[in-house]
């Protein structure tokens, strides 16, 4: 891949700016093979918790008529002993790997982060934003002070970069600032948005967990706004995430201030999405006469 797409984010140098979003595969070594073979420049794992989690019973994912997906997987993951095999597989494939982690307490966060670092991970992403898991979720990220505490503790013990992932909340700009202040090298914005789907014949919410996280095209304009706001306020390193489905979406996020992007739902609909995004971005840069994608970051801000 040509150098014009090279991207530096959180101290990592990537071939291009397109990563997978956490939770799209990423809990088994074979998942890493699949993600790598579809062109992502770095792999983000499923969110890991200290102990294995079964996750919720199906239905855990439903495609919505109004666009996008609703999911409540329940952070199914094999726990910390699952981390090393993933890192080893990514190393074998020559891909940087970012371990997504979540915990019930600051100690849990730091413990998992240490396992990630010891396993040889390239970075960790603190998931402070899952909108449908009690106690592990959005509550964390919507309180700027809690964000600060978690980010600071983890940052202070790790040598590898710490990325903080936030979800939509009233005070997200403030939370983002606190994460940076606490030592986060980059921010991933945003997670899914808490939502619901009801079956109109059985009268029951469709997901077994009732609530789920909305992802895909519906949340794109909202995620883009958050990236724009946080970049405007903090000029932070941002990984844009939320509904990115094609190269024009990716371009908007770059202009709003994202140095890199993550693709989740769109990958479920189109396994070629990474290549299509990269081709589009290259053509776009050509039309505009730019020779480095990094020079387009944040250009919507005057």
């Amino acid at each position: 891949m040509s150098g014009i797409l090279n991207t530096r984010i959180a101290g990592l140098t990537l071939e291009h700016p397109v990563l997978n979003a956490s939770g799209i595969l990423g809990s088994d070594p074979e998942h890493i093979d699949i993600l790598a073979s579809h062109g992502f420049s770095a792999i983000v794992t499923k969110t890991f918790t200290l102990n294995p989690r079964e996750g919720y019973n199906p239905p855990i994912l439903v495609e919505l008529r109004s666009g996008g997906f609703l999911n409540a997987i329940g952070l199914a993951n094999p726990g910390i002993q699952g981390i090393k095999p993933l890192v080893d597989r990514a190393k074998l494939l020559g891909k940087p790997i970012i371990i997504s982690i979540s915990g019930n307490s600051i100690e849990e966060f730091t413990k998992i982060a240490e396992v990630a670092e010891d396993s040889g991970a390239s970075a960790v992403e603190l998931n402070l934003s899952c909108p449908h898991v009690k106690g592990l979720g959005l509550e964390l990220g919507s309180d700027p002070f809690t964000v600060f505490l978690v980010a600071r503790e983890v940052s202070s013990i790790l040598k590898i970069p710490v990325i903080v992932k936030l979800g939509l909340s009233d005070r997200i700009i403030e939370s983002a600032g606190k994460a940076l202040e606490a030592g986060a090298r980059a921010l991933t914005l945003i997670n899914t948005i808490r939502a619901l789907a009801i079956d109109i014949y059985s009268f029951k919410p469709i997901l077994s967990n009732i609530y789920g996280g909305l992802s895909g095209p519906p949340i794109k304009p909202i995620a883009l706004r958050v990236v724009y706001d946080v970049y405007r306020e903090h000029r932070a390193e941002i990984i844009g995430c939320g509904g990115i489905s094609n190269w024009t979406d990716a371009a908007e996020f770059i202009l709003a201030g994202a140095r890199a992007i993550q693709v989740g739902s769109a990958f479920l609909k189109n396994r070629k999405v990474v290549y299509e995004i990269l081709e589009g971005i290259k053509k776009w840069m050509n039309v505009l006469g730019y020779s480095s994608v990094e020079s387009l970051v944040g250009r919507s801000h005057v």
């Binding site: 998942h31 855990i60 997906f69 997987i73 079956d199 014949y201």
Partner: protein, 254 residues
Amino acid sequence: MFRSAKKTRIMILSEKYYYVEFSLLEDLGVEPRPLQFVNIWIPGVDEVPMSISQYTEEKLYVLFKVVGEGTRGLRDRWGFFGVKGPLGNGISLNNYSRVLFIAGGTGIAPLPLLARHAERNGVELDVIWGVKKSSELFDVKTLAPSVNNVYYASEDCIVGYCGRASDLAERFLREHAWRYDIVICVGPKNMLLDICRKAGSLVDVYVSLEAIVKCGFGACGSCILKPIPKLLCTDGPVFKCNEVYKHLEWNSQY
């Protein structure tokens, strides 16, 4: 996409097998291919993957036996259910003229739709079906009248060939493999492995696998066909033997 369906009929096919008719409140949008499946949501209970047994004019049929909560719900509950799909790759019969379908147990489920496609494409379809107890058997031609020859096997030796479907299949194929363009095989993993091993060199064999399907969209990864980097729900359930041989072997060690 999620669609609502009303359970409108249930037939008891044999001691253990049920055949349920769902009236979709809206059609599937696409014509399902043989061996594709759907996830059926039993509201408040579970969501289970089921081969599409038959599909005509907004009616969807599944054939199953009861193994746990989900399938019990499928049998006992009435009212409205949810249908996600068609999911998976399925298979197309366009390029063939003679096909052998080998089923073990509930592997017989996708036959009716397969037979209809075979008939439509002028494909001659023979069937080998084996079960543990012959009380599980029913007359395949009631659901798939267009099939050509049907050979039964039962391990209790009461009906048809005495032994496993894979044994019958192996003996049968040693002699007749040349007559078939492909063999399609649905059943327990050890049966699939057996057939791939023994008949894979005689004829093109396709196997349809099972795995724990949770999301059905290639997202959760629960259906990963370890140690192969393939997902049953999006890459499968139908594969050529050589594509999944390592998975069949790997799994049979456990």
